[in-house]
């Protein structure tokens, strides 16, 4: 490893002395570039199917086109929460930094998808229900889940010992999937304006080009979700390494200061020392 022998940058990171310096300084790789191209291509296909090919709904007219974004984004909000809860449980068991990074990535990406879910839901609700927001069971439980995700990410930013912080956020991360279950089942457990399941059943209640557009929506947003998860995981990993590297630097500096002989630095100190 070149870290101990190579020159350092202003930021303190060791630089390889040979041609390895050409290693790209970003979170991308060949697989993520392929994933990114597929995500962009499927997103273009979603625009074509969602806005051009699929017909307007008999009851909801063109506002149904919001479904092709809203339903997949809600699904990937759930998936992000599952990632966080699973990784939190694994961190509490294994205590390895990779699980902590995965939990953080899952929560942040899930929060982005929760904003999309709430935003598109409100815009869909206005022409359909006549209101942007109502304290309906599904909407309220989704808002609670969003607040929980914000709280989770805020807790991660507290200035605590990394081990203590990871343990606390892991416990909070365990609560996400139970909340997801409440959100998902809320339309069955309580009286709700929100419609029930339309796709996740043996005989979907939509068909034809609308079903195809919805499936393309799942594909496109799924690829975007995967791309974001990989990059965000790598960012979380880099943050951990940068923190560790800063700590190592600080410890080395303190050791060097402690082992160095104490010498007077000013004429006054010299006078004191000789007096």
């Amino acid at each position: 490893m070149t870290a101990t022998t190579s020159p350092r940058t202003a930021a303190g990171a060791p630089q390889p002395a040979d041609g390895a310096a050409a290693a790209p300084a970003h979170t991308g790789s060949r697989p993520t570039r392929i994933l990114g191209v597929l995500a962009l291509a499927s997103s273009a296909l979603l625009v074509l199917y969602g806005l051009v090919i699929s017909p307007p709904d008999v009851e909801m007219a063109d506002s149904v086109r919001l479904m092709y974004v809203h339903v997949p984004s809600a699904t990937y909000l759930y998936v992000g929460c599952f990632f966080t809860t699973f990784a939190s449980a694994m961190w509490l068991w294994k205590r390895t930094p990779g699980w902590d990074a995965l939990a953080e990535a899952g929560a942040e990406v899930a929060l982005v998808f929760s904003f999309i879910t709430l935003g598109t839901g409100s815009l869909w609700g206005r022409p359909t229900w006549g209101t942007y927001w109502t304290w309906d069971a599904r909407l309220t439980s989704t808002a609670v889940l969003t607040v929980l995700l914000i709280g989770y990410l805020a807790l991660r930013r507290l200035d605590l010992d990394p081990g203590t912080r990871s343990a606390r956020v892991a416990v909070l991360g365990l609560l996400l999937v139970p909340n997801v279950i409440v959100v998902n089942r809320s339309v069955d457990w309580w009286r709700s304006l929100h419609q029930g399941e339309t796709v996740a059943r043996i005989d979907p209640t939509i068909d034809g080009d609308m079903l195809v557009a919805l499936m393309v929506g799942f594909l496109a947003l799924g690829l975007v979700f995967a791309w974001l998860m990989v990059h965000r995981f790598r960012v979380a990993w880099l943050e951990q390494q940068a923190d560790r590297f800063d700590l190592d630097e600080a410890l080395a500096l303190r050791r060097a200061e402690a082992s160095a002989p104490t010498t007077p630095t000013t004429p006054a100190d010299t006078a004191k020392g000789t007096a």
Binding site: M1, T2, A3, T9, A11, G12, A13, P14, P16, A20, A21, A23, P24, A25, H26, T27, G28, S29, T32, V47, G50, L51, V52, P56, A61, D62, S63, R65, L66, V69, H70, S73, V112, F115, I116, G119, T120, L123, W124, R126, P127, V224, W227, L228, H231, R232, R234, V235, L238, E239, Q241, A242, F245
Partner: protein, 47 residues
């Protein structure tokens, strides 16, 4: 094609989604580039 009645809601939803996802992706990539310069290449296992 989209009739004008609901076009505003549909456009706001789709454009908002694209802007949020695009903005977040850009933010993540920028953070990754900044942090990558502070960490040894040996720790960037995907490089």
């Amino acid at each position: 094609m989209i009739a004008m009645t609901h076009a505003g809601y549909v456009a706001a939803g789709w454009i908002g989604t694209a802007a949020l996802l695009g903005g977040y992706a850009w933010h993540v990539v920028r953070r990754g580039r900044k942090l990558s310069r502070q960490v040894p290449a040996s720790e960037r296992r995907w490089s």
